[in-house]
Amino acid sequence: MSEKNDDLKKVVNQALAEQKVPHVKLDKMKPSTVDIDKLTKPSKETHQEYWGKGLTFLAIILIILLVVSIIGFVGEHGLATFFSDHVNIIHFLTSTNWDPTQGENHVGALAMIVTSFLVTLISALIAAPFAIAVALFMTEYSSKRSAKFLQSVTELLVGIPSVVYGFLGLTIIVPTIRNVFGGTGFGILAATLVLFVMVLPTITSLTVDALKAVPTELRNSSAALGATRWQTIYHVILRASTSRILTAIIFGMARAFGEALAVQMVIGNAVLMPYNLVSPSATLTSQLTSQMGNTVMGTLPNNALWSLALLLLLMSLLFNFLVHLIGKKGKK
């Protein structure tokens, strides 16, 4: 009997030895002993967790500090115009008389404010329908390959530096306007056309995202009810993505409002109330870029420019607020 047992043991051992995959010994799979002391102390993973939390928190603190100090700095200098130089804030917002070197009664930004808004609104108004059409073609009609191609084209357009757009505008658009309408060719029209090209890709790519976010099931359901592609687009897709498309347009407007260099190159830089689309004028941003080298820190002309900067900052806050507002409405 014992011989047989031995035999069996031998057979098993030999089989185990011949196995290519090592035999798992079950007693190694017992639960590891629990160390109560260790449980109450943070483990290595928990330490890593602390580190990760700490690092991201630090980054956030840094960014918040940066934002607060930018707002503080711009605010301090921008408000100095009103508090230490005694410029009337109502006068600043309603007068078109801009010549800060002549004293506090010549600090009126209305012409620039109006021009900035006109340029922004007109360029967004022209760009939005084009952008929506292009985005619709890319998402609803074209094949995947041509959509990819169009997407890389729009990305390229976004990536071109603004000075290049300004240069192109200066050499092509301004002379063309001069030949067609007379005058110098500089003005709101030229700025609008340049901004149109610059804003178009921004609105397009955001609108593409908006349209892609519409579930395919809605398209299928509409088609299954006997709708044509166009009916589906018009009645379902555009309706489902309205708030996101509006957001896209506002982002485009924010870009147009903030664009300085390209606008400065084609708008003419005369701080005058624009009386038509081809008269030279200036926007808030173009005035900042063209004049910031000509003033001395701490003087009224310099502070007046800071006030323009503050106005721009407030406007971008307003754009952000609008985006949030529309986003909230869209969710309802």
Binding site: E217, N220, A224, A240
Partner: protein, 251 residues
């Protein structure tokens, strides 16, 4: 009994992969046919052939002969938009459009060019009643359809499909995303409607098929294994595989 839709030797392939290997199946008018079978057997794919929803898939090839009222739906002359007005479809997930219940149900009529407000109003009410969702929606027809529960949304979608008075309604697992109570509501709806419309339903739920279907077709691996009246299929199927599947002895 009249056959409203007939399919002969329907084959479908994506690229090199053949998903349907020649399916012959007829659908009697004003009856409910259930397509059953394991996941990936091609029943949804086959269903989507019947109103040409597969056309948009890149690299898809469909051959065979599918006739609706005797007309070849894959003939180049067939108007896709017109076909889908006669052969409607309800999807697995409820897909209400992001506007009011009323506009959802009226959608199909409006895009078909119906301008008569009275007619639309009448149809909307009728369809919501038919889909057994009228009592829950009659007081808030202006409410966004996406604000309703999943089961209610699905019945709104059924009402939306019925509003254009299709002859055939294709249902692609219409209750699989719903809880049992909502599913029961939908089943009741189908039971009450199946003598007015022709339904073709894909379902994973065998009890559901046995409860509502008049005819059952069992598909596996892209082949039609067996088809017949529901009772016969469940009590005495001819094929061993069918019997195993229906009794849960599968694989």
């Amino acid at each position: 009994m009249k056959e409203i839709m007939t399919a002969k030797n329907v084959k479908l392939s994506y690229g090199n992969f053949e998903a349907l290997h020649g399916i012959d199946l007829d659908f009697p008018e004003k009856r409910l046919t259930a397509l059953i079978g394991p996941s990936g057997c091609g029943k949804s794919t086959f269903l989507r052939c019947l109103n040409r929803m597969n056309d948009d898939i890149t690299g898809v090839k469909i051959s065979g002969d599918i006739r609706f009222n005797g007309k070849d739906i894959y003939s180049p002359k067939m108007d896709l938009v017109a076909l889908r007005k006669h052969v409607g479809m309800v999807f697995q997930q409820p897909t209400p459009f992001p506007f009011s219940v009323y506009d959802n149900v009226a959608y199909g009529l409006r895009i078909a060019g119906v301008k008569d407000k009275k007619l639309i109003e009448q149809r909307v009410e009728e369809s919501l009643k038919q889909a057994a969702i009228w009592d829950e929606t009659k007081d808030n027809l202006k409410r966004n359809a996406q604000a309703f529960s999943g089961g209610q949304q699905q019945r709104i979608c059924i009402a939306r499909t019925l509003a254009i008075r299709p002859e055939v309604v294709l249902l692609d697992e219409p209750t699989s995303a719903l809880d049992p109570i909502s599913s029961m509501e939908i089943e009741k709806t189908l039971m009450s409607l199946k003598h007015k419309y022709t339904f073709i339903m894909v379902t994973h739920n065998l009890q559901q098929a046995s409860r509502v279907a008049d005819q059952v077709a069992f598909l596996m691996n892209g082949n039609l294994i067996e088809t017949g009246p529901t009772e016969k299929m469940f009590i005495s199927p001819k094929n061993k595989v069918t019997s195993n599947y229906l009794n849960g002895r599968f694989g």
